[in-house]
Structure formats: structure tokens, C-alpha cells
């Protein structure tokens, strides 16, 4: 299949998104290369069809937001909020990601081959996020569903006010947030993690990860805490 190249210096962001969103003609099954990203914001957002998009260079804020079905690869670093509200498909960043990567994602897979900074997976709702390096503070804050896998270290307050999501960390966790606790990891958990690491193309041994999740103590109002309100 032919590859369609879109030069952002010539086309601009609006034309790129119009094309990738299928508003200029069919895109399902297509292959696209985007050049001259130059840190521009909101690249390849709102895609709804299965296609392959490769963005050359560092991107700005909110790249591949709201993605459905498409596979988007950033060959470089990503700014704030990459793959925010990801629904399905795969978003891969070959470099580092800034804060709020995968924020509020409902499904699909976000792979960050480098490190992610603060608030990675904040309020995630079902997305799987696999990070090759480390993540910053307040990651998985108020996480509701999905899995966050970190091959490096996690910053302070991991999983603060978490509802129901699984967090796997291979390295050191600086501190856990309110109501986030370490949990047992059985053979079935390790097998699921192995499958996810394989899907993400990350060479790591599931047995070396620790698993964290919700202590479920913040779910309901407790009369013992009434004085605090």
C-alpha cells in the first residue's frame, strides 16, 4: 500500500486533522507519514478509523487525543496530554512524554518507550499504559480502570485516591498516594502482565514487577471522618 506523506510546514495542522479524520476521503487501512512536526499542538486528534500514522519529530500538546482504532507513532518526544481520552487503537511515543500522558483514557494502548513526567494516567478509565522508563509524581491520580505499567521508577503519591486500576512498577516507588496499597501478585496477574508487555513490545520480566491498587477505603462516606468536613 502506498504511504501518503503530509508535510506540516506546507499543509498545516487543520488540513492534517481533516485528512486523518476522513473528511477529505476514505482513510480506513491507510498509511500516513507526517513530517515537520516541530512541536505543533493537537496533531492527529479525533481519528476514528484503523490506519497507521507515523509522526516524525517532537510533537506539542494533546497529540493523538480521543483516538479510536488508529495506530499513531510519534518518533520523538510528546508534550502535555499525549493520547488523552484514548478510546482504542495504539499510541506509541519513541521518546519521552510530558505530563498527563494518557489522561482519562477509556481503552486502547499507550506505549511510551522513554519516560513520562508528572500525572501520567491521571483519572484513567480503562486505558493500558506501558512506560519503558520512569514516571513523575501524582501518576494514576483518581484512576478508575485500566493498567499502568512502569519499567522504571514511580514518583511521589502514586495512585492517590485511586478507585479501581492496576499499577505495576518494576523499580522504586517514591511514595504511594492516599488509599493506594501494594497487592499480591499471583501467577495469573503475572501472566496478564506478561501478555501486556509483549503487546507493548517491551522486553521485561513480569516477575520483577510489584502490583499496586486501591485499598477501597475512600469509596464511601465514613461517619468517623465527619469532623473533617
Amino acid at each position: 500500500m502506498t504511504v501518503e506523506t503530509i508535510d506540516l510546514d506546507a499543509a498545516g495542522v487543520r488540513a492534517l486533522n481533516r485528512r486523518l479524520q476522513g473528511r477529505d476521503g476514505p482513510v480506513a487501512g491507510g498509511r500516513f507519514v507526517v513530517t515537520n512536526a516541530k512541536g505543533r499542538h493537537a496533531l492527529a486528534v479525533g481519528l476514528t478509523e484503523a490506519m497507521d500514522v507515523r509522526i516524525r519529530g517532537h510533537v506539542g500538546y494533546y497529540c493523538a487525543g480521543m483516538n479510536q482504532k488508529a495506530d499513531v507513532t510519534v518518533e520523538g518526544n510528546a508534550g502535555t496530554g499525549v493520547a488523552e481520552n484514548l478510546m482504542s487503537g495504539t499510541v506509541r511515543v519513541t521518546g519521552d512524554a510530558s505530563q498527563s500522558a494518557g489522561a482519562s483514557g477509556h481503552g486502547g494502548l499507550l506505549v511510551i518507550e522513554g519516560s513520562a513526567s508528572a500525572r501520567c494516567g491521571i483519572t484513567m478509565k480503562g486505558v493500558d499504559i506501558v512506560v519503558g522508563g520512569s514516571i513523575g509524581h501524582m501518576s494514576a491520580f483518581m484512576a478508575q480502570a485500566g493498567r499502568l505499567v512502569v519499567c522504571g521508577d514511580a514518583g511521589a503519591y502514586l495512585g492517590d485516591s485511586i478507585y479501581e486500576a492496576e499499577l505495576f512498577v518494576r523499580g522504586r516507588v517514591e511514595s504511594l498516594g492516599a488509599d493506594c496499597v501494594e497487592k499480591d501478585m499471583n501467577g495469573e496477574d503475572a501472566a496478564r502482565l506478561d501478555a501486556l508487555l509483549a503487546e507493548a513490545g517491551m522486553a521485561a520480566d513480569a516477575a520483577r514487577f510489584r502490583r499496586y491498587g486501591s485499598a477501597r477505603q475512600l469509596y464511601n462516606f465514613r461517619v468517623d471522618n465527619a469532623a473533617a468536613y
Binding site: 517532537h58 506539542g60 518526544n77 508528572a118
Partner: protein, 301 residues
């Protein structure tokens, strides 16, 4: 919001092109701060031991040559005024503090934006592209530059409120964010430590704090380390000294910053797009500075 940018040249061969490399960085940050802009340029005159102060006049057609003549006569030395738009650099072979004191005492109608041996600060209201053009930034040579594009949220759009701020010789600061303990800290620095302030701006207090720490013998990196404990609020700072450049983000890291470095230069900006115009940036090391970590380059850093 606000945008900040900084460029420090490691390769002296690039110094004649500093302004040409820097101007598009600052212009790219227009959307983060369209109401006013300011920048600091470090350029040594070389040879003589000379001080310079940058002064700004609100009066069109101000007679700068008259000012230079008067300064020369009263300070007993030769003085030179080089105008650029509504600013001028007044230089003389005297102590920088003495030159600054003379301007402030004899010409209260002028505002001193900087003093030192290498530092010049220019700032004005308007779109960054207009401000850059007004001062001829693209033609400027030097070793490093720091800039700010302002979107005022807490105070009026005025030249005085624009960054960078300079409170001590050759030190300047730009800031994206807001400080919450600046009021008491300003009082303490002014009343107990004799630091002089020109405005009610929170960023000027951070600049004054660093000046005080350095005056106590700290390096710029040590002064910034201490600032993590003493300055309360949100900030990404870019700081210039006579031969150094530093960056610090607060530990919560709400305000963005991206750094890039290669053998020739090191640069920082609020967003990567402001660095995209730099030569060979795609091959440079590009990273997000960690919260609460001081990054410094240059001799006295």
C-alpha cells in the same frame, strides 16, 4: 499563561548570530503572551572595565546624548548613550551601582531596567514580533539571551510589569507562574536586607531574593536551591548571570518547560515549538527539566 525562552551559546563562534537565533524562539511564544514582551541580552564590551545601565523613557524623542554628556560631566568620566527605540544603554568607566544611583537620583523620569557589565534589558508592551523589531533583536550579538512574552492576569499591561527583572548587577530573571508569599518576602528583603524594588510584581521579588542570596556569597545554583524552600508558588524560572544561565521549576511542576542541548548551545522554552527553529535541534538532546531540580550552565554557575 506567559511564555519564557532562553538561549545560552556554548560555542563562541555563534555569538554574532545570537539575536538571529533567539528572535524566532520568542516570536513563537506569542500565543502564550501577546500583550507585552521583554528580553535580556548579555554582551561584553571587552577591553575597558565599563559599566552600563539600560534606561527607558516614556517621553518620545528623549535627548539621550544630553543625558550622556551630563553623566560624563558629573561622574568625571566619558559616558556614552546608545539609543534603541524608547530605551538607551548608558555606559561609563565607573562602578555599575554608581551609574545606576546617578540615573535614579538625577533622572527620576527615567526607569532603569538593568545594570551591570554585560546585561541589557529591553521591554515594552505590544506583540512580541513588534517588540523584537523595535529593538532590532535579530541583529544583536552576545553570549546569552533570556526572554518573556506576557499574558497579564494579575496586574495591568504596562512596560514596568513586563519581564525580565533585574535587581542586582548582571542578574536577571523571567518567570512563568505566580508567587504567593511575595508580599512578606518583599518587605523583609527591602526593610531588613536593603534590596531595592521598583514594582509590586511578584517576579521582581524572586529576582531580589536571588540578588540577596548571591550578595551573601551563594552561587546562582545555591541561591536557587535555597529558593525552593523560601519561594512559595508556581514557577518556571530562567535566570541569567554575567556568564551563566540557570533553569528551575517548582516541585509541583504545573508550569511547563522544555530544554534542548548540543555542543553549540543550550536552550529552554515553555514549549518545544519555540526550540524547533534552532539549528540541528532534531539531533539535540531534548528533555523536560525535573521538578525542583536546578539546572545551570556557565562559569560562575
Amino acid at each position: 499563561m506567559c511564555g519564557i525562552v532562553g538561549l545560552y551559546l556554548k560555542n563562541p563562534a555563534l555569538r554574532p548570530h545570537l539575536g538571529r537565533l533567539f528572535a524566532p524562539m520568542m516570536d513563537e511564544m506569542t500565543e502564550r503572551g501577546p500583550d507585552s514582551a521583554g528580553f535580556a541580552v548579555y554582551r561584553e564590551k571587552g577591553g575597558r572595565d565599563e559599566a552600563k545601565v539600560t534606561v527607558c523613557s516614556m517621553t518620545p524623542g528623549y535627548d539621550w546624548s544630553c543625558l550622556a554628556r551630563e553623566a560624563g560631566e558629573e561622574l568625571g568620566t566619558e559616558a556614552l548613550a546608545e539609543p534603541a527605540s524608547n530605551h538607551a544603554v548608558l555606559s561609563a568607566s565607573v562602578d555599575a551601582a554608581a551609574l545606576r544611583d546617578w540615573v535614579e537620583a538625577r533622572h527620576p523620569e527615567l526607569r532603569v531596567t538593568s545594570s551591570g557589565a554585560a546585561l541589557e534589558i529591553y521591554k515594552d508592551i505590544g506583540l512580541p514580533a513588534d517588540v523584537l523589531g523595535r529593538f532590532g533583536v535579530a541583529q544583536m550579538a552576545g553570549s546569552h539571551m533570556i526572554g518573556h512574552t506576557r499574558m497579564a492576569t494579575e496586574s495591568a499591561v504596562t512596560t514596568e510589569g513586563a519581564h525580565p527583572f533585574n535587581t542586582g548587577d548582571d542578574l536577571c530573571l523571567v518567570h512563568n507562574g505566580s508567587l504567593s508569599n511575595h508580599h512578606r518576602l518583599r518587605d523583609w528583603l527591602r526593610d531588613r536586607q536593603g534590596v531595592r524594588f521598583q514594582t509590586d510584581n511578584d517576579t521582581e521579588v524572586a529576582a531580589g531574593y536571588l540578588t540577596w542570596r548571591i550578595g551573601e556569597g551563594a552561587s546562582i545554583a545555591e541561591a536557587l536551591e535555597a529558593g525552593i524552600a523560601d519561594l512559595d508558588g508556581f514557577y518556571t524560572f530562567a535566570v541569567g548571570t554575567r556568564d551563566g544561565f540557570s533553569v528551575l521549576r517548582d516541585p509541583i511542576a504545573c508550569k511547563p518547560a522544555v530544554m534542548a542541548e548540543n555542543d553549540d548551545w543550550v536552550a529552554m522554552a515553555s514549549e518545544f515549538r519555540a526550540l524547533a527553529c534552532l539549528p540541528d535541534v532534531e539531533a539535540a538532546s531534548v528533555w523536560e527539566p525535573e521538578p525542583g531540580k536546578v539546572y545551570s550552565w556557565g562559569g560562575s554557575a
